[in-house]
Amino acid sequence: MDFPRRSVLTLGLLALLGASPLGAFPASAEPASIVVASTTSTEQSGLFKHILPAFAAKTGITVKVVALGTGQALDAARRGDADVVLVHDRAAEDAFVAQGFAKARFDVMYNDFVLVGPKGDAAGTKGTDITAALRKIAAAKAPFVSRGDRSGTHSAELRSWKEAGIDLAAVKGEWYRDVGQGMGPALNTAFALGAYILADRGTWLAFKNRGDLAILVEGDKRLFNPYGVMLVDPDKHPTVKVKEGQAFIDWLVSPKGQDSIAAYRIGGEQLFFPSAGPVRAP
């Protein structure tokens, strides 16, 4: 029988086909690279795209950014799936260090959260006091979109409700929409619903589908949003690339790295303010 032999040949050819593109993804021959687990706010605001080329040019190290919520990013690092974490939830970061997953945390930069809502501002929140604004939203039962994803922004939101003296569990209703998604999708939802939302300024400035949303509350010092960076402790996960990871952290907090962060602007507005060492004036 000649035919079956040809079929076998075809299958063999296919096997080769399958193997050859796989071979085109070299795992070990790559230049030095590290995995950085970070937040959707740093990725979606375009910051990494702006600063990473300078670091790669200087050190030859490729930084692979996996953008997750702060909680997820820390979890990925706990499992050993990242070399460095750059996130924004001070309490969670301190816990990460306390649990022994990192030896130290370094300040990198900060920006702030803003309360965004429809320009009409039916609940009358406009001003500089976040707790007063949240109380008005809850009283009016005005639509509010929550990230609901254990991100740094989500934890800042929950903290603000608490500071406003509002027991979310008790007053939560149809008006409070927990979307469980990143900053961008949550903003898309807020726009669609004409809802209020707490956003980090970086993502807000980079966000393109604003519709009639505008900043209503800003400048409250309780809305301060600091970012920290940590090298995963190689004692926990021996696969952590210590040399390259530390090089990235050293560069981030160096004058060069800090200047690069400060230089990132959208429409003339600075998104992140360097905070390593002495804090510079915005």
Partner: protein
């Protein structure tokens, strides 16, 4: 809406080399996954079509159900398996294109096997008795039937390719959507949607559809050519 569409076409003209690289990665990952799916799935499907054994129909039912395996679950399970803390963590495959190939291969294989089984079983209805009367063993009968139905099996391959290249749940979880490394067409479209850049997302969507149509057209041409040459 019309404004977005207008912008979309304007953006199409300005798509840069990044998009080409992303499309190329999507194509390589999905074609690799389909190739693996064909190598594993065709023999498995053919074997199930030409043999009779206890539990075979249960296996076939399971295979048919696995055609609908949710990509995000496949992604999650593979994530846990490939994680540094997982059983295959030492491979260092997580957040690499290799992990995405593995995930899509898991999705493609049952689809190929189930569709192949159906195609071969139909052919077996016509030819099975004749082949058995020639005294051919099960593997040889399977071989003859695979060869006989090879043009129908191209459609199976295309279905698997369609499933692989259009899924996002699995590649997003195991690939991590890393810029310049594991960003595929679907994860890029999702990211741009999240950033609120809807016209760019739509433009990328048109590129993806174009890619799928092109692959299908090439397959149809090859099949037509082969059918004329080898009938």
């Amino acid at each position: 809406m019309t404004e977005t569409l207008h912008e979309t076409f304007a953006r199409l003209a300005t798509l840069d080399r990044d998009v080409v690289a992303i499309a190329w990665l999507s194509l390589r990952v999905s074609l690799s996954a389909v190739a693996i799916g064909l190598v594993l799935g065709i023999p498995l499907g053919a074997f199930l079509a030409v043999t009779r054994f206890r539990g075979r129909s249960a296996l076939v039912g399971l295979l048919n159900a696995f055609m609908g395996l949710p990509p995000v679950i496949v992604g999650l399970v593979l994530y846990l398996v490939l994680s540094r803390s997982g059983p295959f963590g030492s491979l260092g495959l997580l957040f690499t294109p290799g992990a995405m190939v593995a995930a899509q291969a898991v999705l493609a294989t049952p689809l190929v096997a189930a569709l192949t089984r159906q195609v071969i079983a139909d052919a077996e209805d016509h030819l099975g008795e004749q082949l058995r009367s020639l005294g051919l063993s099960a593997p040889r009968r399977a071989g003859v039937l695979i060869h006989d139905t090879r043009f129908s099996l191209v459609t199976t391959a295309l279905a698997a390719f369609g499933r692989a290249i259009s899924e996002i749940g699995a590649v997003l979880v195991v690939g991590g959507n890393i810029d310049g490394h594991t960003r595929t067409m679907t994860t890029a479209i999702s990211l741009e949607t999240q950033k609120g850049d809807l016209s760019l997302a739509l433009a990328l969507g048109l590129v993806l559809i174009g890619l799928v149509v092109t692959v299908n057209a090439v397959a149809a041409l090859l099949r037509g050519h082969a059918a004329r040459a080898y009938g």
